[in-house]
């Protein structure tokens, strides 16, 4: 049973059935049926590639609306580090933090600070005896889900640490309740300002039995426009940044890895690159590294589909912003330090194999034989007109009873051609 809640969704009134999203989906989760794209929830990993590639704005991410913070007494903003890279000519992070207060938040807790704590805990974790290496980051929820459904053997390589946003939410709630003893947990809202739809899904689903401490997830693009209205250079601003270079760098590919202060890391970005790295790890075909950082989006979180700025420009801005920052505001742990119990998540959800043909291996083998035979008969040009991303997927859909062979336009054309060639009845119209 799949009870996973997705945040990527489709507006059928805008969809033209053009097949662009279907062609870009890395898990072949999309089909075009009756002129409209349909997402298979079992296969979707919320990577947002379809949102990125849709030319009709028909694909979107279901986030909370910024207005929902009004339902709470005490509102805490949790800005992702990538938010800070969205603004032109920003030389002081304080302007963004102050801006968040000006648009209606009571408090700001930078996720970058949570990230620096996770970095410190990761350094400790890597020293643990008996862990499966390479350790794979769980910060990008797309990767965690991708591994669970497609690379189950690597499940035990996932680092069982809660992601930065969760650490930040925990600390922010704890601090707020200490400062304001009259507040109950339900009076407080922790609002994550997210660069991507996957974080929205993560917050709704949690990790296994773990439930997220984040209450609302608002799209970075929505907050961006709110902030532009209030961020003014003339305003004096003395809000200090809550994190250093390490925290800020989590927004770009390589940032999480370089925080380990060790060169035995691999960092990859872009969903297809990530898949080939995972394939290589599974085949035992990578150098002996300690840690693998994987980001579904190009350039890392700054490449998320809910961001405003081009990821490469954003990356450049972060480099400028972090230039005069301290390395980290979280001190390195002392000798004998350990990772607190509440920084770990419990069990991951059980392995759910991606598109298994049948529960019985014998039956699956019979089905696959049929698929292989049918695949050879199809034209093999992977045009997508039938509503499946390629001829192999179409053959599979036909065998599984989800598609009709006549939907292949090439095969249909041949059929008509043969029909005309062999047609011997009726009178010839041309030439009399």
């Amino acid at each position: 049973m799949n009870t996973y809640i997705h945040s990527v969704s489709l507006d059928p009134t805008k969809c033209t059935g053009c097949t662009t999203c279907m062609k870009h989906c890395p898990t072949e989760a999309i089909r075009v049926r009756n002129g409209c794209a349909v997402i298979d929830a079992e296969r979707c990993i919320d990577c947002g590639e379809c949102i990125r590639n849709c030319t009709n704005n028909a694909k979107k991410s279901i986030c909370n609306s910024f207005d929902e913070i009004k339902n709470y007494k005490h509102k805490i903003a949790l800005p992702a580090p990538s938010l800070l890279a969205q603004f032109d000519n920003l030389d002081n992070i304080g302007y963004v933090l102050q801006g968040l207060l000006d648009i209606g938040f009571d408090e700001v807790f930078e996720v970058a600070k949570g990230a620096e704590i996770v970095s410190e805990h990761t350094r400790l974790y890597l020293r643990t005896e008996g862990i499966r290496k390479p350790v794979i980051s769980t910060a990008c929820p797309v990767i965690t889900r991708l591994i669970l459904i497609r690379f189950p053997f690597l499940k035990d390589n996932l680092i069982p640490l809660l992601p930065p946003v969760e650490v930040a939410a925990h600390m922010a709630v704890e601090e707020a309740m200490k400062k304001n003893p009259e507040l109950k947990r339900e009076d407080i809202c922790t609002c994550f300002i997210s660069p991507c739809p996957a974080k929205v899904s993560y917050v709704r689903n949690g990790f296994g039995s773990y439930k997220s401490e984040v209450d609302l997830v608002v799209s970075m693009s929505e907050i961006y426009f709110q902030l532009l209205n209030v961020m003014k250079r003339e305003n004096a601003c003395d809000m200090p940044s809550q994190a250093g270079r390490i925290g800020l760098s989590w927004a770009i590919c390589g940032g999480e890895g370089s925080a380990l202060l060790n060169d035995k890391i691999i960092a990859a970005d872009g969903i297809n690159n990530v898949i080939s790295v995972l394939d290589q790890i599974e085949d035992g075909n990578i150098p002996p590294v300690d840690f693998v950082e994987l980001n579904a989006c190009p350039s890392g979180c700054v490449g998320g589909v809910l961001t405003i700025e081009n990821p490469y420009v954003a990356k450049n801005r972060l480099h400028t912003l972090r230039r005069y920052m301290p390395v980290s505001l979280v001190p390195p742990s002392e000798e004998g330090a350990y990772i607190p119990e509440n920084s770990f998540f419990g069990e991951l959800p059980e392995y759910r194999p991606l598109n298994r043909l049948s529960d019985s291996i014998g039956e699956s083998m019979r089905l696959m034989s049929k698929i292989q035979a049918l695949r050879k008969e199809l034209p093999g040009i992977d045009c997508g007109s039938c509503g499946a991303p390629n001829c192999r997927a179409f053959a599979e859909d036909i065998v599984m009873g989800n598609a009709d062979r006549n939907e292949c336009v090439i095969a249909y054309k041949d059929f008509i051609k043969k029909y005309i060639e062999t047609y011997d009845g009726g009178e010839k119209v041309d030439g009399e």
Binding site: F153, N285, L354, R356, L357, I361, G362, E363
Partner: protein, 144 residues
């Protein structure tokens, strides 16, 4: 584990010997197919490592070849066939660290002499049939 009899399923691949960068494609495809069949992850991993090593060997030493993966009720058999130079001394070739890979291959990080030993380690059965000057056929089996 499998109680119904089914016809063995054969996946056939031509391993392209000219393109070193695409070596490993066949093992990725095999992995996808086995996943769809519902084969357990550990078995898939063993098959794909053995297959990957074999594929690389065919590209390095024999300018490519053919690979067949036969899935039957109780095992997965991998047959790798090439018309390359053949292996003069199989016993020596099976030793960890023994390699005849040229320097340009080694500089790419391959040729550590672990290919054949890894293939043996990850499979339940392995047999090498090789004639110098004619080619090599390697048969491996992973039982469920």
């Amino acid at each position: 584990m499998v109680n119904e009899m089914a016809e063995p399923l054969i996946f056939h691949f031509d391993v392209d010997g000219d393109n070193f960068t695409s070596a490993g494609q066949a093992s990725v495809q095999v992995k996808k197919n086995l996943r769809q069949l519902g084969i357990d992850p550990e078995t898939i991993r063993r098959v794909s490592i053995a297959m990957y090593e074999g594929e690389i060997n065919m590209v390095i030493h024999a300018k490519g070849g053919e690979a067949d993966v036969i899935v039957s009720d109780e095992s997965i058999e991998i047959i790798l066939k090439d018309t390359g130079p053949g292996i003069a001394n199989i016993e020596q070739a099976m030793q960890e660290g023994f390699s005849t890979a040229p320097d340009n291959i080694r500089s790419l990080g391959f040729g550590a002499g672990m290919g054949l030993p890894n293939m043996k380690r990850y499979t339940d059965y392995m047999h090498i049939d090789s004639v110098v000057g004619e080619g090599t056929t390697i048969t491996m089996r992973v039982n469920f």
